[in-house]
Assembly symmetry: C2
């Protein structure tokens, strides 16, 4: 794992996302990192992120999978070009489609581990497979199709 999260490389104008923007004070502010060829993110749900008492609501799980995947797509696109994530031109991604299979209830009293693996990186499209685990057990599996944004998004102000 490197020290700086993918999301901490994003310039201010794309750092407002509720799921992953470091400047969204109300948001989840997830942090994603490389872990070998996979990417990893840890997140501790708040008590109010509940579905039925004791378990995490599905929308949070979908949000974590989604935002970790778009971060993974960006990181993988830079890695494929042998560039650091703060170099130009910017490579930022949005979600074209999201699929989540909820395999078992996700306990809320856990640090959730979200892992991403790039299945395909081709042109402007990156497909990321994601698992979400609690206490060492996979609770949900996702697949996210990410599409690269036009370059005007993610360019640093003044550049």
């Amino acid at each position: 794992m490197t020290d700086i999260a993918f999301q901490d490389y994003y310039p201010d104008n794309v750092s407002q996302c509720y799921g992953c923007g470091r400047l969204n004070e109300h948001g989840l502010q997830i942090k994603s990192y490389w872990d070998g060829d996979e990417t990893i993110c840890h997140f501790r749900p708040k008590p109010y992120h509940t579905a039925i008492p004791g378990y995490v609501y599905g929308g949070l799980i979908a949000s974590l999978i989604d935002c970790h995947a778009t971060g993974t797509a960006a990181a993988a696109a830079y890695r494929a070009e042998n560039r650091a994530m703060d170099t130009e031109p910017p490579l930022r991604f949005v979600t074209a489609s999201l699929h989540v299979d909820y395999q078992r209830p996700t306990p809320i009293d856990a640090v959730l581990e979200v892992r991403g693996l790039v299945k395909e990186l081709k042109g402007r499209k990156v497909i990321v497979a994601v698992t979400l685990s609690a206490h060492g057990e996979i609770c949900a599996r996702g697949e996210v199709v990410c599409v690269r944004m036009p370059e005007e998004f993610g360019r640093r102000a003044g550049e």
Copy 2:
């Protein structure tokens, strides 16, 4: 449309969900209703529900589709039995899988309209197709496979 939302029929012990629980003070508290053979839910995003500035983040869209679908599944299951939603035994649903296609950016300065249509209702499983629109244009389409919970969930306290 009827006056009482599906979620307002849920007994207290299943009304904590961040997405749809009327007792979750931090949550979205969505309200879903019948509109003919479809179901409908309106939701105005908060300014901080942003992705890139001006648009709604995908996790909120997934959350709205998910919770509106499980509410729709419950309502449809009661309707299929010609029962009111506050009668026993309880019919409550969780999400087995969620698929969302993001078709265009969803503007944040709109009341979002979420519509559900039951595609299949068979045994313990209900499949709900969902659209999410803003300013009259469909921005996302979802399909949610909902599975009925064991009856101990959703039974009123003391019964």
